[in-house]
Symmetry: C2
Subunit: 228 residues, 2 copies
């Protein structure tokens, strides 16, 4: 346990340094520290869900693993279910970044969506066990499903905007419906994550790359040469 | 409970009459009866997994719901985990049928794969609860994952053969790798089922249709007119 967490904290520190956690950017020190604690509680919870199953983990188990008082937990989350909302926030932060990149016009839409597909696989793709725990936890609780669904809806609206830009710029077939493409992107991601979590090999990045290329072939403007 | 099961048995009877369960075809009466009991145990188990979660259901719960003696269970299955193997068998039977249809040359490969995509959604798509229970159960048990993975591998080999036929007949882009396409078909199906099971609406058939059209666009020979 301790080693696993040490590695995760190292990654967290690295992420914080490199500004890789979009939802932590632009915060003061105290806010950042609070965000770190929240993220630590989230990761410890996910690790425990992976080991014991969502319904067999208590709030006390989580606070013990994260080395904070039980009361502290409720400063950050209403309930155990709410911990999983952090995942949705992290993912939504990445979609927001993608939308900003697309709007800036500096990169092709192919490149923006490609990058997004890789980035949203980072957090749930830490290990097949964690990916399975995450999917199971979503499936197990109605509350989790409820707010995940709302966040997904928000994310899909942003992806649809990116798709529309791709259509305006002649990269994406104008005949495809942008809302449908956004659903397909999410489905491709979820299906890839699920299948990889069952097999565990090769590395998720390879699965993700294949799935993205397949996804892009389905929406690229016919005859338009794709980037390498 | 009882009402739900009655509906399921009606569907089972209908399926048996119409020969819709490929793995029951060509069996004698006794064998068919055994297969029916096996299918009943499977469906009762899945219903209970949906209601209580995989790990909270015992073999006795299943035999009580299916109205058979506890000993009878072990005539059909080695363990609780093995019950889920029935799903893999049913799905594999449908893939085998698709391969036979493709080999007969009577239908286009587009039509064969389209039909397959719809057919494999029938069993897990009975309700969002059941779909979630099925996915969770797969994720929960290493044994289930093990034999599901083997069955999926078998299924993917057959789908790859169908894809190769599509390439020979000029329907599918010869540049795509048939094994990769088979993985994409499975991923598209799993992703669609997962997302639908979270949202619950509209009907799965609509989700499946959109996903199949997206899937086909990614592999169709460029410039080849697709069927309506």
């Amino acid at each position: 346990m301790v080693n696993g967490h040490t590695i995760q904290f190292a990654k967290l520190a690295e992420a914080l340094d490199s500004g890789n956690l979009p939802h932590l950017q632009g915060m003061g020190r105290r806010q950042r520290r609070a965000a770190e604690t929240r993220l630590r509680l989230f990761r410890c919870a996910l690790q425990l869900f992976a080991e014991r199953g969502f319904s067999n983990v208590t709030v006390e188990d989580i606070t013990e693993a994260a080395d904070v008082g039980k009361g502290t937990f409720f400063n950050y989350f209403e309930s155990k279910d709410r911990v999983l909302g952090v995942m949705a926030e992290i993912q939504l932060g990445k979609v927001k970044q993608a939308l900003a990149h697309a709007a800036s016009g500096e990169r092709s839409i192919y490149s923006v969506l490609h990058h997004l597909f890789l980035r949203i696989s980072e957090e749930p793709g830490r290990s097949p066990d964690l990916a399975r725990a995450m999917i199971s936890s979503f499936l197990a609780s109605e509350q989790v499903r409820g707010f995940t669904e709302r966040k997904m809806r928000e994310g899909r609206k942003m992806v649809a905007q990116v798709v529309a830009m791709g259509q305006q710029r002649g990269e994406i077939d104008p005949r495809v419906k942008k809302e449908k493409v956004a659903i397909q992107l999410l489905q491709a991601f979820m299906g890839t994550l699920l299948l990889w979590s069952l097999h565990g090999k090769p590395a998720l990045a390879i699965w993700i790359e294949n799935s993205f290329q397949h996804f892009w072939r389905a929406i690229a403007l016919p005859g338009k040469k794709q980037e390498p």
